[in-house]
Amino acid sequence: MLLDPGMDLTLRPMRYPDFYERYRAAIRNTWTVEEVDLHTDLADLARMTAQERHLINRLVAFFATGDSIVANNLVLNLYQHVNAPEARLYLSRQLYEEAVHVQFYLTLLDTYLPDPEERVKAFAAVDHIPSIRDKAEFCFRWIDSINGIDRLESPGERRLFLLNLICFAACIEGLFFYGAFAYVYWFRSRGLLSGLATGTNWVFRDESMHMEFAFSVVDTVRAEEPELFDDELSAQVTRMIEEAVEAELAFARDLCGDGMPGMSVEQMRSYLQYVADQRLARLGMPARYGAANPFAFMELQDVQELANFFERRVSAYQVAVEGNVSFDETF
């Protein structure tokens, strides 16, 4: 079974081909930080109100450490316990993607914050800005919760592991990041910060895959060991998600203050609750909030993009292509 302790090395016969396909799909979507063009963002920043600038400074300060935390959990916990070499292939790839994201946000902060002192402060936000520190502590708590466990022997240990996995998928990548992306797309809907939005599109695409991978690990474990998924686990997940929504809301209060047209704490609350319900639904658990999505601009993210040639780089191309020259295939 997937969570049986050990370091399985044999790829054939492959037990979980779906994980391997995810690994291959991820490789086809390689992007690099150098492709993102941030040059118009600086002009936008100069035009923003003080309130908007405060929001964006806090937001990038969160980004400065967010992906590093996810990468740490991946190395410290997930890689050790998800015992299938094809799954570990995917996790290796995910680790690389987290590194690209870290590099992207590093470049972003260096570009957005030319003043060295401000820059150092932003990178240290996780230590001294309460709304960012609290989110980080939420993450650390769940990293630590299984850090001492070397082997997942008992059902209790396996449930603890599942909580860690679900936390990173549903609460961190699936809620903290989704909240952060919503701010970016709110700016984008007003024609601002298109460089950040381009990079975010690609980060978002990767994060979506990470989350879906984690959920498919959950699905697999559920199929193999249904008894692990009892009411207690469900209740714990719901509590954890409630806590994450609260932490993200505190962050929203810090970012939005009294609110701006189209972006307020109340709207963010119902957006986060709406997203949280979707995570619960994906896990086959009952909705907690029954909220609706208040952000019309998020609907845009669900729709295929048609990049305008002159203005933006097309982000849809594939890295790996197969086959040989021939003249009689149908097209």
């Binding site: 150098e34 939005a197 989350m211 999505n293 993210q301 040989n324 009689d328 149908t330 097209f331």
Partner: protein, 718 residues
């Protein structure tokens, strides 16, 4: 109106715009609100009438004295032309584009100083000498029947009226000074919003000896890196960077490094992230690919005349150099072809354009010294270049959707009338335009080419319920191209009688009695005989007249599908510098609304399927066939449509091809077919991302069910 109400209206606009998918009528609602907003903004600077708007833009130093004087002298008549209700034709995205990018703004306050209809009439007046002329062009623009290209829309009547869309520069000569001189030319042309095509074929390849220093050349890549930076550094008026496409002939010994320039892996010092790339492919190469023979790569320093030859002459010279052993190295032609296909799949770039097809039928290549060396940024322009002549083209496109007669097809009389007006005004732009380099002015004065194209072909097919791959669609599309060509040639011959033939007319194939469709045996009808007789009597005012440009922005303004393209998706978003905009196929929605089927469930299904109706339950088969997307149509049909209209397009077409999951096998078959079909050029290969963003606003059908998010692993949807 108070501050609060304005804020409310802005939110109302955004809300309406975001709800376009629920009901496309919201698009017009948002547009109407935006039009009010624009009118108020202009009124803030005292602008209500057209005359007031030109007075205000003139006072702000934005338009020519001559235009201001013309408008002041005819103020009452011109003001009476303005049809404010014409704003109601705009979809939201179109009006928003006009507002964000085209309306003239006060240099300090950034408030607009004209309304959309003022803008159209200002553009028309900038190209006219009488009120009647201005009225004729304005009538076409305000009905969204015809729009000139963006540079003309941006700059008509302005103090520096750069009106041309495309510039094609010959390869720099193989020497340092010539290369640096080209950078300067590119920068000057770029600054005024021109798209750049430039060949690099004459520049020596890597390892070639440099006599002056006794060193070896690093090849073309370092030069192209400099070009890349230079192009990116030039800001075109507003916020858009310059854009350029580099052409290289397939025999150049640096071709393999060239093909890697856009990769996002590998050494960044050998990458150009801003340049577009195109292959300028001789027939001899394609023949050797077919025959699975070797291909020889040369240093242009050793074979300087190859780039100035095409057809038989090229093949003879190429084979002689090869027999002489002058090549740098040889590789199997199929290996190189496979690499070209890989580049297309990985980057969408490395466009396949065909040197011999381009030259063989061009009106400009009657004399052997006049050779086409490249196409332009969007692969629809094919004009001769040399060191002394930078080819230029002025473009405009007819909105076919605006030429439909209620119910029964194209209004051919109106279409012909639109062509006549369009050709006359495109011809005028040649004389009114400001040319940033003497090489561009020289070429345009001599050849006077124009590029009249179309947009909204997909709208026509949807309205008439013709699937893209139906024989009726092929026949109609070909007839449209032929009617436009007939009217364009006829008008240019009239213009030659009125204003004189273009100075290099004697160097053209038309002077010898051969018109473009004759190369294809496609001008046998009496109507062509009549045109041929008129050309024989008067000559032509323009050496080339027809080109199908991509129309990305002007199709947005007109609210129609781009040029000759099929729809990419029934629901998609546009990302532009002013934000993201949801677009939904309003023809599909109208059909489904009529059946009471445009429900939230269907909308979610459609989004989940990335805008495809093929697996949405309850959609009848005829609608499924009609509303296929570009990804679902056989690409052979797109190539067949393009090949059938090629006789009537004397330049070329920006033909995108679409393949969701490209393989080398499918691509090599497709491009070989395109070449054999006689296409002169192709444009992007569009493919799709291998993974995608998780949808936030679509409810999952049920957990654990394979959704279309991951079609590769979903058996159900194969």
């Amino acid at each position: 109106m108070t501050q609060i109400v304005e804020g409310d209206r802005r939110l109302a606009i955004e809300e309406a715009a975001a709800r376009v998918i629920t009901d496309p009528a919201n698009s017009r609602v948002a547009a109407r609100l935006l039009a009010e907003e624009i009118a108020e903004e202009a009124a803030g600077h005292g602008v209500r009438t057209f005359a007031e708007s030109v007075a205000a833009t003139h006072a702000a130093g934005l338009v020519q004295d001559a235009l201001a004087a013309f408008v002041a002298a005819n103020a009452a008549e011109l003001d009476a032309l303005i049809a404010d209700e014409a704003d109601e034709r705009f979809e939201y995205f179109g009006l928003r584009t006009v507002y964000d990018r085209y309306l003239l703004r006060h240099p300090d306050t950034r408030a607009v100083l004209e309304r959309p209809q003022h803008f159209f009439l200002r553009v028309a007046c900038g190209l006219s000498t009488t009120v009647a002329e201005a009225a004729e062009l304005y009538a076409l623009m305000s009905t969204l029947s015809y729009l000139p290209s963006s540079p003309t829309l941006f700059n008509s009547g302005s103090r520096r009226p750069q009106l041309s869309s495309c510039f094609l520069l010959d390869s720099p000569r193989d020497e340092l000074e010539a290369i640096y001189d080209r950078y300067g030319q590119v920068a000057r042309l770029s600054k005024y919003a021109g798209g750049i095509g430039i060949s690099w074929t004459r520049v020596r390849s890597r390892g070639s000896l440099i006599k002056g220093t006794n060193g070896h050349s690093n090849g073309i890549v370092p030069w192209l890196r400099t070009l890349d930076s230079s192009v990116a550094a030039v800001n075109q008026g507003g916020r858009r960077k310059g854009a350029a496409c580099v052409y290289l002939e397939t025999w150049h010994a640096d071709i393999e490094e060239f093909l890697e320039l856009r990769d996002n892996t590998g050494e960044d010092a050998r990458r150009t992230h801003n340049l577009n790339l195109a292959n300028w492919v001789p027939d001899e190469f394609m023949r050797r690919v077919e025959a699975d023979e070797p291909w020889s790569l040369f240093d242009p320093k050793q074979v300087p005349d190859l780039t100035d030859l095409y057809g038989e002459a090229f093949t003879r010279a190429y084979r002689a150099y090869e027999a002489d052993g002058r090549f740098v190295r040889q590789i199997p032609a199929r290996t190189l072809y496979g690499r070209m296909m890989r580049t297309l799949a990985q980057t969408g770039n490395g466009w396949m354009t065909f040197k011999d097809a381009a030259n063989r039928t061009s009106n400009q290549t009657a004399r052997p010294e006049n050779v086409i060396h490249l196409s332009n940024l969007c692969t629809e322009i094919l004009e001769v270049t040399s060191d002394a002549e930078t080819a230029v083209c002025n473009l405009g496109s007819i909105n076919l959707a605006a030429h439909l007669r209620a119910g029964d097809g194209i209004d051919w009389d109106r279409l012909r009338a639109t062509v006549r007006t369009a050709v006359r005004f495109l011809d005028v732009t040649i004389d009114l335009g400001f040319y940033p380099t003497p090489e561009a002015a020289a070429a345009n004065g001599r050849w006077r080419p124009i590029g009249l194209g179309v947009m909204g072909l997909a709208d026509v097919f949807f309205t008439l319920r013709l699937p893209f791959d139906s024989p009726q669609a092929l026949a109609l599309s070909t007839r449209i191209a032929e009617e436009i060509a007939l009217a364009a040639y006829d008008t240019s011959a009239d213009l030659a009688a009125e204003r004189g033939r273009h100075p290099s007319y004697d160097d053209t194939r038309a002077a010898g009695g051969v018109l473009h469709p004759d190369h294809y045996g496609a001008a046998g009808s009496p109507r062509w005989d009549a045109v041929r007789a008129k050309v024989a009597a008067h000559g032509l005012r323009n050496s080339l007249m027809l080109a199908i440009a991509p129309t990305a922005t002007i199709a947005s303004i007109a609210g129609c599908y781009e040029c000759i393209e099929p729809q990419v998706s029934n629901v998609f978003k546009r990302e532009t510098l002013s934000g993201e905009f949801l677009q939904v196929n309003r023809y599909l929605v109208a059909d489904l609304q009529a059946r009471g089927q445009w429900t939230q469930r269907v909308r979610d299904d459609l989004k989940r399927a990335d805008g495809s109706v093929q697996h949405v339950p309850g959609i009848p088969e005829d609608l499924k066939a009609l509303y296929r997307t570009a990804w679902e149509l056989p690409q052979k049909a797109l190539i067949d449509l393009a090949a059938a209209r090629q006789p009537y397009i004397d330049q070329s077409q920006s033909l995108n091809l679409f393949m969701a999951e490209p393989t080398i096998g499918k691509l090599s078959s497709m491009y070989a077919y395109a070449w054999k079909s006689g296409l002169k050029t192709t444009y992007y290969l569009r493919s799709r991302p291998a993974t995608r963003i998780a949808q936030t606003t679509v409810q999952r059908v049920a957990p654990d069910v394979c959704s279309l998010e991951n079609p590769e692993t979903c058996e159900a949807c194969q």
